[in-house]
């Protein structure tokens, strides 16, 4: 069930990507987005350790010890890939040359703030490249489960230390697709299997309903097609 939810989130985010986009996928759930990229679009995956044009995970026979992604996985490369050092990699990221970054989060709030890098006293893994990606990518999409152990993660105000201030553009969970606007959060879509009541009950933040609020049909996913509703965005 949890896996199904994550796949749904990954699939929905993949529909946001456009032909020619340069995309950086965070570790964990965001990585799954790569599995659902529509066949008709070509994009370049950037890995902050110094690679543009990341391919699929390497099979045992394909493993090259000198080639990993930022998640420490051995990977292959696309035709047209290039390598660069870390300063050039973050020049690309900070300079706005990455079109979309997809990141996990612990909390997101009404102002587009995101907390993703630590729980003081419990989990302090370090921010890695997340702060730079959030500050520099043209579009920041958060991929996360709607709640954690029953607790809301979409809040009025993040309580954990912030990883980025006012930079989140879109939040995709297994229940909802929300956009962050200058007026606040806007619920754009109700994900298949969820309801408006369910979203109200599990979201601490206030949010508006989009005029053309869409109800995603799980069949769209199962059919592997990009439904009308999803393509409104």
């Amino acid at each position: 069930m949890a896996l199904k939810d994550k796949e749904l989130i990954a699939w929905r985010i993949a529909q946001e990507l456009k032909d020619g986009d340069v995309v950086n996928l965070g570790i964990g759930l965001p990585t799954l987005v790569a599995n659902y990229i529509p066949e008709e679009i070509q994009l370049m995956l950037q890995s902050e350790n110094g690679l543009l044009g990341m391919g699929a995970l390497a099979t045992d026979a394909q493993v090259d010890p000198d080639i990993i992604n930022a998640g420490n996985q051995h990977i292959t490369t696309q035709k047209g890939a290039s390598y660069f050092h870390s300063a050039d990699s973050f020049a690309m990221i900070r300079g706005g040359h990455v079109d979309v970054t997809v990141l996990g989060a612990l909390q997101v709030d009404e102002l587009g703030n995101i907390a993703s890098h630590m729980v003081p006293g419990k989990m302090v893994p370090g921010m890695g490249g997340a702060m730079d990606l959030i500050a520099g990518a043209r579009r920041v999409i958060v991929a996360m489960l709607h709640t954690a152990k029953g607790e809301a993660k979409i809040l009025k105000e993040c309580s954990l230390p912030l990883t980025g201030v006012g930079k989140v553009n879109m939040i995709v969970t297994e229940k909802a697709v929300m956009e962050v606007t200058s007026h606040g959060l806007v619920l754009k879509e109700i994900m298949p299997g969820s309801t408006l009541d369910d979203i109200f009950a599990t979201t601490e933040a206030s949010f508006f309903l989009a005029e053309n609020l869409a109800l995603n049909d799980r069949k769209t996913l199962e059919g592997g097609e990009d439904g009308d509703q999803a393509s409104n965005f």
Binding site: G50, L51, I67, S86, G126
Partner: protein, 217 residues
């Protein structure tokens, strides 16, 4: 100008309490034989600066596991639970820096730049104790350069003059760290004579390198 020496000789210049920049991302591109030599030499109280803490059995993680490190400055330690434990028990100081800011600070250290303005970390804990500089309507954090006593570097091919090529994703911090230390030691998988390394592939010009060590795996 032949800079080739043994790992032991190169590492003998590293003393207790020194600061070391290390190349590598999750251990990929960290010079294994120089870590070996440092462990053998037993140098202590080191401050090490690099991208991440790798894992307990890899890269800089081995030096930390061996108790030789006093302080770690890195962007990520999440895949090395031992580091979290040492940090929580007060046995290791850890300073976390956003990855892009860390690498740019090292570049500044090598490039004679006194600092740079970035919006990374603005409004977060990263901002603490830092000058905020306003340019037009925008605010930025002023981030300062990082330099070290020593840099330990892993090259794919080096010539005896000290020119270095780094293959694929082993580049990461290596060419940057090589510019920002007083003593720069390169461990190379292959050492060639001057003129045999394609000048178009040199990422670290020889001016930056003090010692070249062969036999890196």
């Amino acid at each position: 100008m032949n800079k080739q020496v043994s790992a032991q000789e190169a590492i003998s210049h590293i003393q207790d309490g020194m600061t070391i920049l290390y190349g590598g991302f999750m251990g990929v591109g960290t010079p294994k034989i120089l870590i070996d030599a440092l462990i053998e030499q037993g140098t202590k109280e080191l401050t090490v600066i690099g991208n991440d803490a790798a894992t307990p059995g890899a890269g800089i993680g081995r030096l930390i596991s061996n108790g030789q490190v006093k302080k770690l400055i890195a962007s990520h330690i999440g895949l090395n639970p031992e580091v979290a434990q040492l940090m929580n028990t007060g046995k290791l100081q850890v300073e976390l820096v956003p990855q892009g800011t860390l690498v740019e600070r090292i570049r500044c250290g090598g490039a004679g730049i006194g600092g740079f303005l970035t919006q990374t970390g603005l409004g977060t804990e990263v901002q603490e104790h830092k000058q905020v500089i306003q340019v037009g309507t925008q605010k930025y954090l002023l981030e300062l350069p990082i330099r070290a006593d020593v840099a330990i570097i892993r090259g794919t091919v080096a010539d005896t003059l000290g020119n270095v090529f780094y293959r694929a994703t082993t580049k990461n911090l290596n060419p940057l760290a090589a510019t920002a230390a007083d003593l720069v030691i390169v461990a190379a998988q292959e050492i060639v004579d001057p003129g045999e390394l394609d000048p178009e592939k040199v990422m670290t010009p020889c001016v930056y390198v003090n010692y070249v060590v062969g036999g890196e795996s």
